[in-house]
């Protein structure tokens, strides 16, 4: 495999990782807020904050890793996406900044106010919406280059059904993934009242999740035929994704094997996300940049891959330690530590 392919493969895995961990985080924020306004916060907010406290910075790193990595492996992306994403990217940064810092101010600082809960819940939905713009742009047709000046066609972006369907998909996916994880987490903690509530959320958001995915797929077929057709060639991946979706829904409905349900939802998104990504190949930004013509020098590519392997050797043991101490420490999950 060439270093460009290793690069994009690794980056895509990290983006998938961010999709999962950030979804859990963002969705949890929304559920916490929802529980507060419907006066059910005593049931689940303890559970949510126990999970989130040790990991929020780790979530952020997945995101930073992705955008630093993509500029490293494919410097051309900085030129096109950098210019086009100035506004949506800045908005996403501001929302992330508000979310991250308020989180620290409230949790390490003082008691939780409703204003904070609102911001926490609202940013949980707005951040995925603003980040999803990057995926929409990659489909082409929204960025033009004239006389060496790159600009974003805002009118086209805001009137495109594709862009709104991707926004909708990102939001409902966040809620579905998050609720499924929280169901698993509550069952591990043997917190039955919380389990009952978050399982209800998970079941509720399952149907919109699959509908939004299909809608986005249909709009994609109208917007970027080539991408749509390459995805159809990967029909077995999409089929597996739908299959795992049905497995997840069934497991949630049965009310047993919540761990399996969460694994199943992760697999559902693995196949959907990689089906989408492989179908997009070779374009990083249709039609301006491909994986090959935008790649960095070979020496840099090799250095980055080497650094990546070294980094993983350092991080994986550390992450295992973190998980051992918090996520999989039964006493901690149950709130005894």
């Amino acid at each position: 495999m060439s270093y460009e392919m290793i690069g994009i493969f690794v980056l895509w895995i990290f983006l998938y990782g961010y999709l999962i961990v950030a979804s859990i985080d963002f969705g949890a924020g929304f559920f916490a807020f929802y529980a507060r306004i419907t006066r059910q916060d005593h049931v689940i907010n303890q559970l949510i904050s126990r999970y989130l406290s040790p990991v929020w910075e780790v979530t952020n790193v997945f995101f930073v890793f992705f955008f630093v990595g993509i500029v490293g492996f494919f410097p051309e992306t900085a030129y096109y996406y950098g210019t086009a994403l100035l506004v949506p990217g800045s908005i996403a940064i501001i929302l992330l900044a508000i979310r991250g810092s308020f989180y620290a101010f409230e949790n390490y600082g003082s008691k939780q106010s409703t204003v904070y809960m609102f911001l926490y819940g609202a940013t949980g939905l707005l951040i995925p919406a603003s980040l999803s713009v990057a995926l929409t742009l990659s489909e082409g047709g929204f960025i033009v280059e004239e006389n060496g000046v790159v600009s974003l066609q805002y009118l086209e972006l805001f009137t495109s059904p594709l862009s709104w369907s991707i926004v909708a998909l990102s939001i409902v996916s966040v809620l579905f993934i998050s609720a499924t994880f929280l169901t698993f987490y509550a069952s591990r903690a043997k917190d039955y009242p919380a389990l009952k509530l978050v399982r209800k959320f998970a079941l509720f958001w399952s149907t919109p999740a699959i509908i939004a995915a299909l809608t986005a797929f249909i709009f994609l077929s109208q917007h970027n035929r080539g991408h749509y057709e390459s995805m159809l060639d990967l029909w077995w991946m999409l089929g597996l994704s739908v299959g795992f979706f049905m497995t997840t829904a069934w497991l949630l409905y049965q009310g047993k094997y919540y761990g399996m349900a969460f694994i199943s939802v992760m697999l559902q998104y693995v196949f959907a996300f990689f089906g989408y990504g492989i179908g997009h190949y070779p374009y990083l930004l249709d039609p301006f940049i491909t994986v090959y013509d935008s790649a960095t020098h070979e020496s840099m590519g090799i250095a980055l891959v080497t650094a990546f392997i070294g980094g993983l050797l350092l991080l994986i043991p550390s992450l295992i330690l973190l998980m051992k101490l918090f996520l999989f420490d039964a006493d901690y999950v149950k709130g005894k530590k």
């Binding site: 040790p54 900044a97 101010f105």
Partner: protein
């Protein structure tokens, strides 16, 4: 219009960096102070020091959060505001940016562990060991980012072919000529600043009539560290000046208003320039610039005349340089004065004047960091990659940059205010005396003095 976009891009980046550098500096330096305090606490079996580590950590996580979000902001802004720079530089210098993420990841993981495991292990050294990866991660984050900045000053590790970079050697780019002195200077000054700020906070508490053993021990520790790191920072600053004299002479010359190449050059402090580019009202130390630059009072120092005038850095960087250096000499002086007073039997080292000086030295140290970075960045102008790309060529063409400036300004005002409010509330609602009793009830109450 085009110039406006460039100016707004520069202002936005300057604002983000000026704000981020405060929290980045704390993020690099404070873990070392925490770790030292905890180690002393365990070694001496003295709950005061361990409480110190605990309380510093609690404040630290708030500043880390702001550091994380502003760091994310500057990381993305590099691509959003300077797309042409990242497109070119990404080819050569993305390796340390990439590794910085790992260093930070490493730090974040262990900060999480350190924060939530204070009383979880019977062997207290286990908890202390978790502070080491935080120090190492924070330190290496600074090292990696500083190599990128060093590269912008003395680009290396590539050849140019038809205007694009070729034959890239990422390691050579990282280890460019500016890297060693810059890294040394950034690290020591971060440790110095954090020690000075923690000393200032402690002195402030003592001024507010909290003269407990806990606070006295904290003051002595932080001032000792201030002194040690101030000496190291002075050495680092000196080696930075010697580096500039050889590799980036126009930057040193601009800081010193040194226009003509000459032997036995004088050092100029403050003053102002008249229309004929002559310094007026300055303090002049004969032959000292030659000594600073080469360790030889008669060495020849390159003047600005050897750089075309349109490539001169702005001459006001002179003040930034002077202020930074002045503060750099003031800080160890204050710490030294405290120790002299404490050795003299008749004098009270906790008198109002002394404490006020210490309180002042905290913000001054942080200001010196700001001045130093302004000097470092402005002194490189008009280049973004010295000799290859100017800031004007690098900036975004997007017309919305002014609007983004306003949005980010609002964000930083909110973050800065809330950070201060939260920190004050955190410590006011939770005084050290109460906490000592809560965590270490068996510790005898010999606290009041």
């Amino acid at each position: 219009m085009e110039l406006d976009t460039v100016l707004m891009s520069r202002l936005l980046t300057a604002m983000t960096l000026g704000f981020h550098i405060i929290f980045a500096t704390l993020g690099v330096g404070v873990p070392l102070m925490i770790s030292i305090a905890e180690l002393i606490g365990i070694k001496k079996n003295d709950p005061h020091y361990r409480l110190l580590a605990r309380r510093w950590t609690r404040g630290f996580v708030i500043t880390v959060a702001v550091g994380v979000v502003t760091g994310t902001a500057i990381g993305l802004q590099l691509s959003l505001v300077w797309p042409n720079f990242m497109q070119v530089a990404g080819n050569v210098i993305s390796l340390p940016l990439f590794m910085e993420v790992f260093a930070f990841f490493f730090e974040a993981i262990f900060l999480g562990i350190y924060l939530y495991t204070w009383d979880r292990f019977n062997n207290q050294y286990i908890h202390w060991v978790f502070s080491l990866p935080i120090i190492i991660g924070g330190g290496f984050s600074a090292v990696f980012i500083t190599t990128v900045n060093a590269f912008m000053n003395t680009p290396d590790g590539f050849t140019t072919e038809n205007g694009t970079f070729a034959a890239v050697n990422p390691i050579a780019a990282m280890l460019n000529p500016a890297t060693p002195t810059k890294v040394f200077h950034v690290l020591t000054s971060a440790y110095l600043t954090c020690a000075a700020i923690l000393a200032a906070i402690t002195a402030f508490m003592i001024l507010k009539k909290k003269t407990t053993d806990y606070h006295k021990k904290a003051l002595k520790l932080t001032l000792t560290l201030t002194f040690i790191f101030a000496v190291l920072t002075a050495i680092a600053g000196d080696s930075s000046a010697k580096f500039l004299a050889v590799h980036q002479p126009e930057k040193l010359a601009a800081a010193e208003w040194h226009f003509e190449t000459e032997e036995g050059a004088d050092l100029l402090l403050f003053g102002w320039l008249n229309d004929a580019h002559e310094a007026v009202g300055e303090i002049r130390i004969p032959n000292f610039l030659s000594f600073l630059a080469y360790g030889d009072f008669n060495a020849e120092v390159t003047g600005l005349e050897e750089t075309p005038e349109d490539k001169w850095p702005p001459l006001w960087v002179h003040y930034m340089f002077d202020l930074m250096v002045t503060i750099g000499f003031l800080l160890p002086g204050v710490a030294l004065l405290y120790f002299i007073l404490s050795k003299l039997k008749k004098r009270n080292e906790h008198n109002k004047g002394m404490l006020s000086l210490i309180v002042l030295s905290g913000p001054l140290a942080m200001l010196a960091i700001e001045f130093g970075w302004i000097y470092a960045e402005e002194g490189r102008q008009p280049w973004i990659i010295r000799g290859y790309m100017t800031v004007e060529e690098a900036a975004t063409s997007s017309p919305y940059i002014g609007l983004m400036f306003v949005l980010f300004l609002a964000l930083y005002i909110v973050l800065g205010t809330l950070c201060v409010v939260t920190l004050r509330k955190l410590f006011r609602d939770n005084p050290a005396e109460e906490e000592l009793e809560k965590h270490y009830p068996s510790f005898e109450k010999d606290d009041e003095s």
